[in-house]
Symmetry: C2
Subunit: 200 residues, 2 copies
DNA sequence: AGCTAACGTGACGGGGGCGTCAACTTCGAT
DNA sequence: ATCGAAGTTGACGCCCCCGTCACGTTAGCT
């Protein structure tokens, strides 16, 4: 009846349960904060029994890692890819910012997760994953310096400043009733186009 | 023997106990994160009994609020005051940044508290107190716009970007063995002097 | 249809936190 | 020196969480 040649029921249930746990965990972490959330808080937002949780994850930390890892990887990859085609500084900045803001807008739930648990993210992944891939951004900046798009300054500082400013602006943007990505992108692009050039 | 005309012993003990609790709480919040910290975790880092805690604070949230409130108030006041004397954009920026970075350097323990519990701070004080007084910064920016130091753009966005970038740079700076305030101040000042001017 | 390995279930023992309170100690006033 | 109020103590009852495991159910193979 329903659709295609899916895997067996066993496998489908497994996927569904895993997804249910991840979804419930995200909600719980956003609502209660990672530290105050218990495995029971997660399971309760699910139709499953408490024992089942442990068939999928060893503890709540593993769920948190799975949640953050996946998103961070995707975000870093996509902004990195977007910047590849840039030939001017404005393009480099604008393309990266646009992808970043659009990702956040498309997956607000995960954004809330990071926002509410920024300290935990930082403590757990020692990389300051707040910007989800600041190191990759720094690499991109170094490449841009190499090809003359940017003055030769500390790329890590540039990356930190950009990530911090961008994250904070995203918070503001998503608080609005009608988030305006173009406005945010334009602001960031002009701010950093002017600012980074001034460093030289 | 020891010094001046202090208040009675009763009063002195009270102050000492309160201070001990605040100190212990700060350590616990940094180490375990706010959510995972229990009142017992706080008391245990103290020579006091568990019941005594409740003579000073109703619960751990009250301690956290006391900790953050005090620092945020002081930081906002001092940066605000520093900026009052500025007559150029570079001065306005440089003075503010310097005070901010020096405060963080002087009270690293509280900085760690905010860094580790940024999400909680945001959730508890709905103001994004990550920058400890972004609203006040926005006010200062509006004043600067009024006196022609800055182009007339959304002061909230400017303030968010500045606070975010600055906080993230502070994290980097304090990770260094020999934190260089002047370097950080110079970087921020040039970045935003160039960037904010470009908005016009 | 019959069988079995895989999986879901929820009760259980052990651990620990919460906020209280009756008993005790100590300050400081008389 | 005496005494009462202020403050400290830690054990207590209640509650909830943790991770496990013996038991039931079911998918999917033959």
């Amino acid at each position: 009846m329903s659709g295609a040649a899916e895997a067996g029921k066993r496998e489908r249930t497994k996927q569904a349960n895993r997804a249910a746990i991840l979804h419930a965990a995200r909600d719980a972490f956003v609502e209660l904060g990672y530290g105050a959330t218990t495995v029971r808080d997660i399971v309760r937002r699910t139709a499953l029994a408490s024992g089942t949780f442990y068939n999928y994850f060893p503890d709540k930390e593993a769920v948190f890692r799975a949640l953050v890892d996946e998103t961070a990887r995707a975000a870093a990859e996509r902004t990195h890819h977007a910047r590849r085609s840039a030939t001017t500084l404005e393009e480099f900045l604008g393309l990266g910012f646009r992808v970043y803001f659009e990702l956040l807008l498309a997956d607000r739930a995960t954004f809330e997760l990071v926002r509410r648990n920024a300290g935990t993210v930082r403590a757990m992944f020692d990389e300051p994953a707040i910007g989800a891939g600041v190191d990759l951004l720094a690499d991109d900046l170094r490449a841009a310096i190499g090809s003359g798009l940017l003055p030769d300054h500390d790329a890590r500082m540039m990356a930190s400043a950009m990530a911090g400013a961008t994250f904070e602006l995203a918070v503001r943007m998503l608080e609005d009733d009608a988030p305006d990505v173009e406005r945010a992108v334009g602001f960031c692009t002009r701010l950093f186009a002017g600012g980074l050039a001034r460093l030289g």
